[in-house]
Amino acid sequence: MENKIKEFKNLEKWQGTLASCIRCGYCFEHCPMFKHTGWESDAPRAKIITAFGLITGEVEPSESAADKMFSCFYCKRCEAACSSGVPLTEIFTDARKDLVEMGLEGPGTTSITKLNCARCLICVGACPHEARNYDGKGIATDPAKCQACGICLEVCPAGAAKIENNFGTGRDELIEKASNFLNTHESSKAIIFACNWSYFPELQASVLPDSETRDNNYEILVNMCGGRLEPYLLMAPFLHNAWGVMAAVCPDDDCQHNGNLRAKKIVETLRNTFKSIDIDPERIQLVQIPAGDKSLFQAEIDTFVDKLNNMGPIR
């Protein structure tokens, strides 16, 4: 394989690093996108391979190649797990910068703004990554900066901020998953929404026999950043007879999007609402889990389910 073209000004510097990725694929298990689609081409390793192909000219800078590079929630779990020390998301960002220059920008997971935007500019101020700007006509997102944390979606009063490709982590998809679980498991009691950091994925891709899961009383759903938890989403499971809902987010100073602090506020408000309508506020809870602390997370879930068992269903 010979060096071909070199028009990737930002990406080019990573050529050596891209060679040192041994392509072991240990990053698969950490990626919610791979786990949602099951396609290797959505896994972090695939993006590294694509970046390499773009530099060498073996991959055309096409819309579909670009879409891969613009699809990432920047949870950075792949990066933290990579023993070869490959700074994956920095590489993705540099690839994005070059692709934008070539007129390619996704859609990927970049948040967009729909026509019903009222130009209130709340999202511009709320975006922790300075990716949203008012350009005199409307709100534009810089696709090289957007990290798809979804905070703009949560703050937008008009529902105009949108992420089109959610890879199973969007509000509607999560509600569907939650209701599906609650409606098909007689023993079901709780839905646990977890950010990709607070939850260490157990089974990464395999499916257990029905006999093993039939009696499950809770389901963990990964919603990416806690900043995306909307009141509507947190309340939805109760419409399907959930006894309780828990949200797991990072500890105070650990969230790169500060989404945990937003989630805290929202849960607090909902608890107050519960109180005012005489429902035990303990039925909705927020826990903060340091990255990958499986045992703490499991202990919190067990305590929560025990509490719910004592309370019984909502009457």
Binding site: M1, E2, N3, Q15, G16, A19, S20, C21, I22, R23, C24, G25, Y26, F28, E29, G38, W39, E40, S41, A46, I49, T50, F52, G53, I55, T56, E58, V59, E60, S62, S64, A65, K68, C82, S83, S84, G85, E202, L203, Q204, A205, S206, V207, L208, P209, E212
Partner: protein
């Protein structure tokens, strides 16, 4: 490239389970090896029937089919050097049955090894062949590579744990091989032949695997050595003493430096270390084994020997070992860890000499190599750390590999202990098996007369992989 009927493929598996965009094909053209080649389509079957239909279509049209699990093979087993359909088996991922009474489980081939062990754990049992790559490796890929791992020294490799399987043949027929019993003497036991066949004989669509109880006690120790030779000799002595370690791993100075750099394991930066473990249901029995291994290490000049039952300490070292190959890329910022001459096996008494040989050959050719591996089962791994842009480094690597495998064969060792042959190791494999190549070709023909299953691998692979296959690196001329 032959014309491929994408519409037909979509009819079989559904629109959403076929990909033909060049950017997807490019990604699926790689695995953990040094090779790269483009498939013509990626197809993800969800049922056995779909696999059968795909095979019928491919066989009728002479289109190569390459089964793919996690794509973590190190020798290019899934790299489609003759193009064709990449059959991504990851959607056939159901654990079908855990049968505690008859001590077996049945799984689809796309089940990830660690997932299976997680499901088994709650019953106090585990599936032991587990390679270091168990977070990504699928049961199908492990069967096709006859994978083994740190615990194989006591519990055996994949071949020892596979009781039976269902396999789709190239003509689309579904056959049931083996049984659900521990022993079988009914003829050729073709299921054992499928193990290690690297996707060249049939597509595994279901496997029946045995499991064993999780021991009550596990104790892990580390012994440091100032000379690689001493560590190598200690391995031979431990195994010859009748000891039954549940793990006996060698790591040399290069490997120690790399894992320390990545994971801060605090291993002493010595010439070599042995990581040993004993397990069992009775603590006294575990103590006995550990004591015995400690003493043998001492006799071979082992220092700072220490062992612990503490699960946290054991888990840390275990994880360091699991991540060793990727960590090697951090040994030096200018060198990448390449999977070349990645594994081999020699008789125990030759372990020390082999480890020494690896370093001597590397020095002579001016490259960095490391020697580590599941040495308790005779398995040694090496990796070549080099500047992959430099053609002279590839030339040197090639010479080094040839010399190392010449040595391995000269002491009645074998080209692959567990990672398989694929493309990168075919040269040595063909020399090693020279007098049985005709038999191998006959077996291949009996299963796959049109040569559509993973063609160009094992004994069909080109001799000179550097020039005959595409490397996945940019090499300056």
């Amino acid at each position: 490239m032959k014309p491929i009927d994408v519409t037909r493929l979509k009819e079989i598996v559904g629109e959403r389970n076929v990909k033909t965009d060049p950017s997807d094909l490019y990604v699926y053209g790689s695995d953990s090896s040094v090779h790269h080649a483009m498939p013509w389509a990626i197809v993800k079957p969800e049922t056995t029937q779909q696999v059968q239909e795909i095979m019928k279509y491919a066989n009728g049209n002479g289109i190569p089919v390459i089964a793919r699990g996690g794509g973590s093979g190190m020798c290019g087993q899934t790299v489609p050097i003759q193009g064709g359909i990449m059959l991504d088996m990851k959607a056939m991922n159901k654990i079908l049955e855990i049968n505690l009474k008859d001590v077996y489980c049945r799984v689809e081939p796309g089940v990830v090894d660690d997932d299976l062990n997680l499901a088994l754990k709650q019953y106090g049992v585990f599936y032991p062949p587990t390679p270091a790559s168990s977070r990504i490796a699928t049961i199908g890929g492990e069967i096709a590579n006859n994978a083994s791992g740190v615990r194989s020294v006591k519990y055996g490799a994949t071949r020892d744990a596979v009781l039976g399987m269902k396999v789709v043949l190239p003509n689309g027929d579904l056959v049931t091989l083996g049984s659900h019993t521990r022993v079988e003497a009914s003829g050729y036991q073709l299921h054992k032949l499928i193990v290690g066949s690297e996707g060249t004989l049939g597509i595994v669509v279901e496997a029946t695997l045995s499991f064993v109880p999780i021991p009550e006690f596990r104790c892990m120790g580390v012994a440091n050595f100032d000379a690689l030779k001493d560590a190598g000799e200690a391995i031979g002595s431990i195994m010859a003493s009748g000891s039954i370690p549940s793990m006996l791993e060698l790591v040399d100075s290069v490997a120690i430096k790399a894992v320390n750099k990545t994971m801060d394991l605090g291993l002493k930066e010595v010439a070599a270390a042995l990581i040993f473990e004993a397990d069992g249901m009775v603590k006294e029995a575990v103590d006995y084994e550990i004591d015995k291994m400690k003493k043998i290490c001492e006799k071979h000049n082992g220092k700072d020997i220490h062992a612990s039952y503490d699960p946290k300490e054991r888990a840390k070292i275990f994880m360091g070992r699991k991540k060793l190959f990727p960590a090697l890329s951090k040994y030096d910022d200018n060198l990448a860890s390449t999977s070349l001459a990645d594994d081999m096996a020699v008789p125990y008494s030759k372990m020390a000499e082999l480890a020494g040989k690896v370093h001597e050959v590397a020095d002579r050719h001016n490259i960095v190599m490391t020697a580590y591996g599941h040495c308790g089962s005779g398995c040694m791994h090496t990796k070549i750390l080099m500047d992959t842009k430099r053609k002279d480094q590839w030339d040197a690597a090639k010479k080094a590999i040839t010399e190392i495998y010449e040595y391995v064969r000269s002491v009645n060792g074998t080209t692959s202990a567990e990672h398989g042959i694929g493309l990168s190791k075919a040269e040595s494999f063909k020399v090693e098996k020279a007098d049985s190549l005709n038999l191998l070709a006959g077996i291949k023909k009996a299963f796959d007369p049109n040569n559509i299953l993973n063609p160009g691998k094992l004994s069909q692979a080109p001799e000179d992989w550097v020039t005959a296959t595409n490397l996945r690196y940019s090499v300056n001329s």
